[in-house]
């Protein structure tokens, strides 16, 4: 059996990889859907785009489901605290995602222009909404959210839905939106017919530039945003009980990890490198390389979130010591071992099959 500390780290890495895979597969689909009304596409062109996305849609959603289940298995308490706190937000994400596969499959089996218009609106909203809401979720994770753990680990929830819409979280939501829109636009530039290609190229520049500006703004804000830090000694192979540590909060603490390991600066730096490269490549019609660069940006953006918060998964802004980290809120050693094997086997299989399906479908 592997060391508990290594297990926790590896499983955290797996969780990140599942999330990145969702951002790349599902995120691309969301990005394309939210651009649909901006494309001035004819009905025939829409049909082609939708027919390409349709066989992939259900599979993309299972990436999100996989991320959720890996979190549930690996950090049951984090799953419980986060899902109960963000229940309303996640419910909306869920409702939006409900519409997608069925919407894709059956869009053209019902005729009537009015109906199709509404159907397309639904598809557009179901692309836009999850992108915004998941960004909002990420923003609130960075800020910390209000929950308290009692001594028997009952979780008390002290926030409300309106509280999620704070300025910083809205900025992160906008960043997420711009990121997925530019990713989708570059995809369309590579794969559409001539007209769609031009539209995609025209949209990629503003969306990509907006993302880079917003990302930089969020980064600047984080230097003054209250971050979290464990002040007591961390026992990476200790038993999972979140109430055995002390946590402090302070301006700019999310930059701690970068100060201790300056090589980590490479991750946010690569967001910019990838983003600028994608814009330049898109300008010169190197669609394939632009999409690759854009994928690097998406990956590094998710990584930036994870690395900045490490080792926190769910900081609490009301009861600091209730905050949950990867060390003290994880599953047992036996369960993490099984998780590592199962998910470690599943992940490459899922990546290979998703890649293959994208290739033959798109």
């Amino acid at each position: 059996m592997l060391d508990y500390e290594i297990l926790r780290l590896l499983c955290w890495g797996l969780l990140g990889l599942f999330l990145i895979s969702f951002a790349l597969s599902g995120g691309l689909e969301l990005g394309i859907s939210m651009l649909l009304p901006l494309l001035n596409a004819t009905e025939a062109q829409r049909r082609v785009i939708i027919a390409r996305l349709a066989p992939l849609s259900a599979g993309n959603q299972t990436w999100l489901a996989a991320t959720v289940v890996v979190l549930f298995v690996g950090w049951p308490t984090v799953y419980a605290a986060a899902f109960a706190s963000f229940q309303m937000l996640l419910l909306l994400v869920l409702l939006a995602l409900f519409v997608r596969p069925a919407g894709f499959y059956f869009r053209n089996s019902i005729s009537g222009a009015d109906f199709l218009k509404n159907w397309d609106k639904a598809l557009y909203v179901s692309g836009l909404l999850p992108a915004v809401l998941l960004g909002l979720l990420a923003g609130n994770l960075l800020k910390g959210f209000p929950f308290h753990l009692s001594s028997d680990m009952h979780i008390a929830f002290l926030g409300n839905f309106a509280g999620l819409f704070n300025p910083f979280a809205l900025l992160v939501a906008a960043t997420c939106l711009a990121l997925l829109a530019s990713h989708g636009a570059i995809y369309l530039q590579l794969h559409g017919d001539d007209e769609i290609r031009l539209r995609g190229k025209a949209l990629a520049l503003p969306a990509g530039a907006a993302f880079l500006i917003l990302f930089a703004m969020a980064g600047l804000w984080i230097t003054h945003l209250e971050g979290y830090h464990v002040t007591t000694e961390i026992i990476p192979d200790g038993v999972s009980n979140p109430l055995t540590k002390f946590v402090k909060r302070g301006d700019g603490l999310w930059l701690d990890n970068y100060e201790h390991a300056p090589s980590l600066w490479a991750i946010p730096a690569l967001v910019f490198v990838g983003g600028i490269a994608a814009l330049v490549l898109s300008k010169f019609d190197r669609g394939y390389w632009a999409l690759l660069a854009s994928s690097v940006t998406v990956t590094m953006t998710v990584l930036t979130l994870g690395v900045s918060m490490f080792p926190f998964l769910a900081p609490s802004n009301i009861s600091l010591n209730s905050s949950l980290t990867i060390w003290d809120a994880s599953a047992s050693q036996a369960t993490l071992t099984v998780l590592l094997w199962l998910a470690g086997l599943l992940l490459p299989l899922m990546v290979v099959s998703t890649r293959w399906l994208f290739r033959i479908s798109l």
Partner: protein
């Protein structure tokens, strides 16, 4: 104290979710096998009608599959959202089988698009493998979910850890080879074949009565009658031998469905509450001194009954101060009410027998050469029977678990999230409206496809995607 309204609202929302899950998941699971069998026979025999059948039923399968995915996702969100203490308390064990279920879901979800739209792009053999993969995926995910649900009935391979305040996995083999879960898996799998057979039978009978799509309907009808007949017999036989037998089924439930008194069980539970209280007070001491060996030994001896002390949380927050009257109340409610279980079992048995009759009549109709319209009508109107039978079966299993969410470990009452009532009402309304809308859309689509028959209902990617 936990609010009664919060508990009831959380339970109601879970019930809505479970009903939706139960309406479409068994149907798609059963249909996936039908599709694989039909397409295999198409390749072996070369008869074009079997390809037509796979395409026609495949469309209805896709509608059901979309709704199954939606309700599975909803479940995955609901455990953490409304049942956060449950998720914390048993997540270490309960969530693992869900990962297996997810692997199956991934397989099926990626396959279903190709099943629908890949007829021209894939070769015959490749398409058949996709169909089989979808079916295997559906079965695998059912297996994972049933292992999880079976564990809530019979929580084996796990132990309470006083330091992390939750159940933790001790034996993976026990979890995966849980006899109760395996019996439930096979029983409900067979029942889902019956559900799908009833569905196919009813729609085929409709076509035969209207004298449309005759060839497709006759072939489908014949397969459904045969599969359904044998599946009903196997479901009943296995149910009797494994699930509703002494030894597998908790004695309280067995007593309830057979209408027997359960005084001795109540007496036993009184003692378990007493013992649980000892474990609970020990746990408080352990919190101050985690290393004390003698304390740990005493706690280990009593901790199997810890859950029984939690039963008191409904009336008394600090359970060690519980009054004798409250202990008596907890003991009396430690078994689920007998009458609903008794009648639920009757409904299940009666509708199971009627199912058998319906499939017998259907077999007679195939032999009689489709002339008798009353035989066909009986097949048409028998469609709700399998749902009724498996629905009451689920009711017995889920309601019979009460007052526990995980048998003998965690009371339902304690498992909820302590969220505000308004929150719960709003989310339940939003979710209920959305899902009802989606179900209505699915029904409209099903009716539309059935009316159009197999020639008219082309889907989008077949029209444009291959061009």
């Amino acid at each position: 104290m936990i609010s009664e309204t919060v508990v009831e609202l959380s339970r109601a929302q879970y019930a809505i979710n479970a009903v939706q899950h139960f309406l479409f998941v068994p149907l798609t699971l059963g249909l996936s096998l039908f599709l694989a069998l039909m397409e295999s026979w198409f390749l072996l025999s070369g008869q074009a009608v079997y390809k037509q059948m796979t395409q026609f039923w495949g469309r209805l399968f896709a509608i059901g599959f979309g709704l199954s995915i939606a309700s599975s996702l909803a479940m995955a969100v609901q455990f953490g959202g409304n049942w956060s203490y449950f998720s914390h308390y048993v997540g270490d064990v309960f969530a693992l089988p869900l990962l297996i279920g997810l692997a199956g879901l991934f397989l099926a979800a990626n396959g279903v698009g190709w099943l629908l739209f890949g007829w021209r792009r894939l070769g015959k053999g490749a398409h058949l493998s996709v169909t089989w993969l979808v079916s295997i995926g559906c079965h695998l995910s059912w297996f994972g979910f049933l292992i999880a649900s079976g564990w809530m009935q019979n929580p084996v391979g796990a132990e309470f850890n006083a330091q992390s305040m939750r159940m933790e996995l001790t034996d993976l083999n026990l979890l995966l080879c849980n006899p109760v879960a395996l019996a439930k898996f096979v029983h409900s799998l067979l029942a889902s074949y019956v559900t799908a057979a009833g569905f196919v039978l009813a729609i085929s009978a409709y076509y035969l009565l209207k004298q449309r799509e005759t060839q497709l309907a006759q072939h489908s009808y014949r397969i459904a009658a045969a599969v359904g007949f044998w599946a009903v017999i196997a479901t009943v036989a296995l149910g009797d031998a494994s699930i509703y037998a002494p030894g597998t089924m908790p004695r309280t439930k067995l007593a309830a469905i057979s209408g027997l008194p359960n005084d001795d069980i109540l007496e036993q539970n009184r003692q378990r509450i007493d013992n649980g209280l000892r474990a609970y007070s020990m746990l408080q001491e352990l919190r101050d001194d985690k290393k004390d060996a003698s304390l740990l030994a005493v706690f280990a001896a009593a901790k199997a009954d810890l859950g029984y002390a939690l039963l008191l949380k409904r009336w008394q927050d600090s359970v060690v101060d519980a009054k004798p009257a409250q202990i008596e109340q907890a003991a009396l409610t430690s078994v689920s009410p007998a009458a609903p279980l008794f009648w639920g079992y009757k409904v299940m048995v009666v509708s199971g027998v009627l199912c058998l009759l319906a499939f017998l009549l259907a077999s007679a109709a195939t032999i009689a050469g489709w002339r008798s319209s009353w035989l066909l009508k009986s097949s048409l109107y028998a469609w709700p029977l399998p749902w009724l039978a498996s629905g009451s079966g689920w009711f017995i299993s889920e309601f019979g678990r009460q007052p526990w969410i995980v048998a003998d470990i965690l009371p339902t009452w304690v498992g909820v999230s302590t969220r505000s009532e308004t929150d719960l009402i709003v989310s339940m309304a939003a979710y209920g409206v959305a899902y009802t809308g989606l179900s209505a859309l699915a029904l409209v689509l099903i009716v539309k496809f059935v009316r159009r028959g197999c020639a008219g209902s082309l889907l989008l990617a077949e029209e444009s995607g291959d061009a």
